[in-house]
Amino acid sequence: MTAVPFPVREPAWSLSRSAIGLWVTESVISSVVTGIAATAVAVFVPSEPGTALPTLRWLVPVLALAYAAVAIGIRPWFKHRVYRWEVTADAVFTRTGWLTQTWTLVPISRIQTVDVTRGVLQQLFGLSTVAVLTASSQGTVRIWHLDADVAQRVAEDLAHRAEQVRDEAT
C-alpha cells in the first residue's frame, strides 16, 4: 500500500501520542454501545429454524467483536500515522481520515476565524482541536487533538498572522 505515492505530500508534523489514548477511549465507548446492541440481538431475536434468523443471532455478535478488535486494536495507531498537520509561511495544511484520507490546505490570507474547542474526552487527555474557518463552508481546516498549550499557541499565531496578511478573505 505504501508503494503507491500520495497525490500530494504529507504534512510535516504528527500529533502527540496522547491522541492515541483518546482514540482508544472513543473506540472502547463505541464498542461497548455496539456490544450492548449485539447482545440484545443475540438474546431477543427468536431462533426460528428455516429462516435467516439463527444465522443473524451469531453473525451480529461476531461482526460486533470484529469491529471492536479493529477499532480498539488497529485504528488508533493507523490514525496516528495518517493525522498530520503543518503551518507553513503562508498556509495551514492537514491530513485526516483513515481509509479515505483528506488533505486540506487553506492560505492564511483567507482565514476568517480561528476556534479552539475542547471536548469532554479531549479534556481528560489534555487535548484541543483548532478549527480554521474560511468564507467557504467546505473550506474549514480542523487540526485535531493537539496538546492544549500547542493548540492555544497555534490559534493565537494564526489569528495574528491572518490579521496582518488579510486580503479580502472571501
Binding site: 505515492p5 505530500r9 483528506t102
Partner: protein, 490 residues
C-alpha cells in the same frame, strides 16, 4: 455602530396598512387562536355570525397592520442601514453598508395595484448562512424604493474598486442578456419547471377532496374501457405537464433582462411579481453553467453567478434562467476569463464511473443467479441484467461529463450527468483546497480535488483526477500558497 445624526428615520408608506389589512398579513397569526375560541363559545351558523366574524377579523387586521406600520422605521445612513421594528419587544437591526451584497426590489401584484414595492437588502452571510441575513422593507412607494436601492448601493465605500469608480463617473448601461420568449419552450425539459404542474395538480386534488360530494366531478367508469381511459389520461397528463411547465417558466422569467450598470449587474424578471435584483460585479467569483439531461438534448443551459456572501444564491444569483447554450457561454465569457478547453480525466476514472454505475445491477444479478435455481425468482435476474445494461451508458455519460481546465486567471471543473454542472471560477475565488482519496482511488491512482469557494455551494469538485496532476493543477489554479502541496516539508 453609531448612527450619524444626518440619517433620517423613515417610515414605509401608510398605504401599506390598507394592503396588509386586505391580505390579513399580520392578522393571520391570530387565526389558529380565534378558531378554537369561536368553536368553544358555540357560535352557531347564521348570517349574523358570519358578518360579525368578517368585520371583526378585518378590524383586527387593520389594527395590527396599523400598529406594525407605526412601530416600523428604517434609516439609510452613510455608514449603515438601520431597521427598527416590533410591537412590544423592539428590535433594531443595523447592517453596515460594506456588508451589503445586493438589493432586490420586488413588486407582487397587490403591491403593484397600490403603487408600492418591497425592498430586500441582502447582507453578507457568513459560513453558516441563515435567513436572518437580510432586511425586508415592505411597502414603500416605487420612487422611494428606487431611491433606497441607489442610495444603499452608492453609500458603500469602495475606493479601491475600479468598478465602483466607473459607476460614480458615468453609469454606463450594457445589456448582457435578454429573454427570448421562444426559450420558454425549453421549460418542459427542465426538472424544476416540470415540478410546477405537479404541485398545481396535487393542490387541485386536495381541493376536490374537500368539495361536498354533489359538486365533485362524477366519472362514469363504465363509459370508457380501461385501455382507452389510460391512454386519454396519459395524453392529458403529458399535455398538462408541457403546458404547466411553459406557463410556470413564463410566470417566473417573463421579460428577463440582465444589464450591467456601472459596477453592478441588474436582473429584472417576473410576470406577476416583478423582481429587480442587483449584484455587485466585484463580488462575483465565477459562474456555474448547468445543463440537465433533457436540456442537453436541445442545447439549453442555465447560468448562475457565484457571489461571495450571498444568501439564497440559487435564486438571486441567476444570470440566465433558461436559454441556448451559445447565449449562456457568451455571458460567462463576459464575466470569467477563459481557462481553455477542458481536459479529460484518466481512463481509471472511466473504469470507476462504470463500476459505480453498474454495481447495484451486478449485485442484483448475482442475487438473481443464486435465487433463480433456489426459489425460482427469475424476475430478480432480469431486473439485474436490465439495470446493468442501463448502468453502462450512465457510467460512460458520467465519465464524459468529467473535466477540468486551468488558465492564467481562471479554472473550470465539470461533473454530473442528470444535471451536468460546470463551474468556471476566477483564480481569486479559491479560498482553500481539499484533496480526498479513498482506498479504491489510491489503487486506481486518482483522487478528488475540491476547490473551496466562499460562494455558491462552498466547493466545486474535480472527481477522479489523475493523482500526479493534482499538485500542478492546484499550484496553477491559485496563489503561491498552493505550492505547499508539492514543496518539500520544512
Amino acid at each position: 455602530m453609531t448612527q450619524p445624526p444626518d440619517a433620517i428615520v423613515r417610515r414605509t408608506s401608510p398605504t401599506v396598512v390598507l394592503l396588509h389589512t386586505v391580505t390579513f398579513r399580520q392578522a393571520r397569526q391570530f387565526v389558529p387562536v380565534v378558531i378554537p375560541i369561536a368553536a368553544a363559545t358555540g357560535l352557531g351558523g347564521g348570517t349574523r355570525t358570519v358578518v360579525t366574524l368578517i368585520v371583526g377579523v378585518t378590524l383586527l387586521s387593520l389594527v395590527t397592520a396599523a400598529l406594525t406600520w407605526w412601530r416600523f422605521g428604517y434609516a439609510d445612513g452613510p455608514a449603515a442601514v438601520v431597521v427598527t421594528r416590533g410591537l412590544l419587544s423592539r428590535s433594531v437591526r443595523t447592517v453596515p453598508n460594506d456588508r451589503i451584497r445586493g438589493v432586490e426590489v420586488e413588486t407582487p401584484v397587490l403591491h403593484r395595484i397600490f403603487g408600492l414595492v418591497r425592498v430586500r437588502i441582502d447582507a453578507a452571510a457568513g459560513a453558516q448562512a441563515g435567513k436572518d441575513e437580510e432586511l425586508l422593507i415592505d411597502g414603500v412607494t416605487r420612487a422611494e424604493g428606487d431611491r433606497l436601492r441607489v442610495a444603499v448601493l452608492t453609500h458603500r465605500p469602495a475606493p479601491g474598486l475600479p468598478g465602483a469608480q466607473d459607476a460614480a463617473a458615468e453609469p454606463v448601461e450594457e445589456q448582457f442578456a435578454r429573454f427570448d420568449n421562444r426559450w420558454l419552450f425549453y421549460a418542459p425539459l427542465v426538472g424544476s419547471y416540470l415540478a410546477v404542474p405537479f404541485a398545481a395538480v396535487s393542490a387541485l386534488f386536495r381541493l376536490a377532496d374537500e368539495l361536498p360530494a354533489r359538486f365533485q366531478p362524477h366519472l362514469d367508469e363504465t363509459a370508457l374501457s380501461d385501455g382507452q381511459l389510460l391512454l386519454v389520461a396519459a395524453v392529458a397528463a403529458v399535455l398538462l405537464l408541457w403546458l404547466g411547465s411553459v406557463v410556470g417558466a413564463a410566470v417566473v422569467n417573463w421579460g428577463f433582462t440582465l444589464v450591467r450598470r456601472g459596477g453592478s449587474l441588474v436582473a429584472v424578471r417576473g410576470l406577476v411579481t416583478r423582481r429587480h435584483t442587483e449584484l455587485e460585479v466585484d463580488r462575483i467569483r465565477g459562474c456555474t453553467v448547468a445543463e440537465g439531461a433533457g436540456m442537453r438534448l436541445v442545447g439549453a443551459a442555465r447560468v448562475n453567478a457565484l457571489v461571495t456572501g450571498l444568501g439564497d444564491a440559487n435564486r438571486r444569483g441567476q444570470l440566465l434562467p433558461l436559454g441556448p447554450r451559445t447565449e449562456a457561454w457568451t455571458l460567462v465569457r463576459r464575466l470569467v476569463p477563459d481557462p481553455g478547453p477542458l481536459r479529460r480525466h484518466p481512463a481509471a476514472a472511466r473504469q470507476r464511473r462504470l463500476v459505480r454505475a453498474t454495481s447495484p445491477g451486478l449485485a442484483l444479478t448475482a442475487a438473481g443467479l443464486v435465487a433463480t435455481p433456489l426459489a425460482g425468482w427469475w424476475e430478480l435476474l432480469v431486473a439485474g441484467v436490465v439495470l446493468v445494461s442501463l448502468g453502462v451508458p450512465l457510467g460512460l455519460g458520467r465519465y464524459a461529463a468529467l473535466g477540468h481546465a486551468v488558465g492564467a486567471e481562471s479554472l473550470a471543473v465539470r461533473s454530473g450527468w442528470l444535471v451536468r454542472e460546470e463551474a468556471q471560477l476566477e483564480r481569486r475565488a479559491v479560498v482553500g483546497w481539499r484533496v480526498q482519496q479513498s482506498l479504491f482511488q489510491r489503487r486506481a491512482g486518482v483522487a478528488t480535488v475540491v476547490a473551496c469557494v466562499g460562494a455558491g455551494n462552498g466547493g466545486y469538485a474535480a472527481l477522479d483526477m489523475a493523482a500526479e496532476e493534482i499538485a500542478a493543477f492546484t499550484a496553477a489554479a491559485s496563489g503561491s500558497w498552493a505550492t505547499t502541496f508539492s514543496r518539500p516539508a520544512g
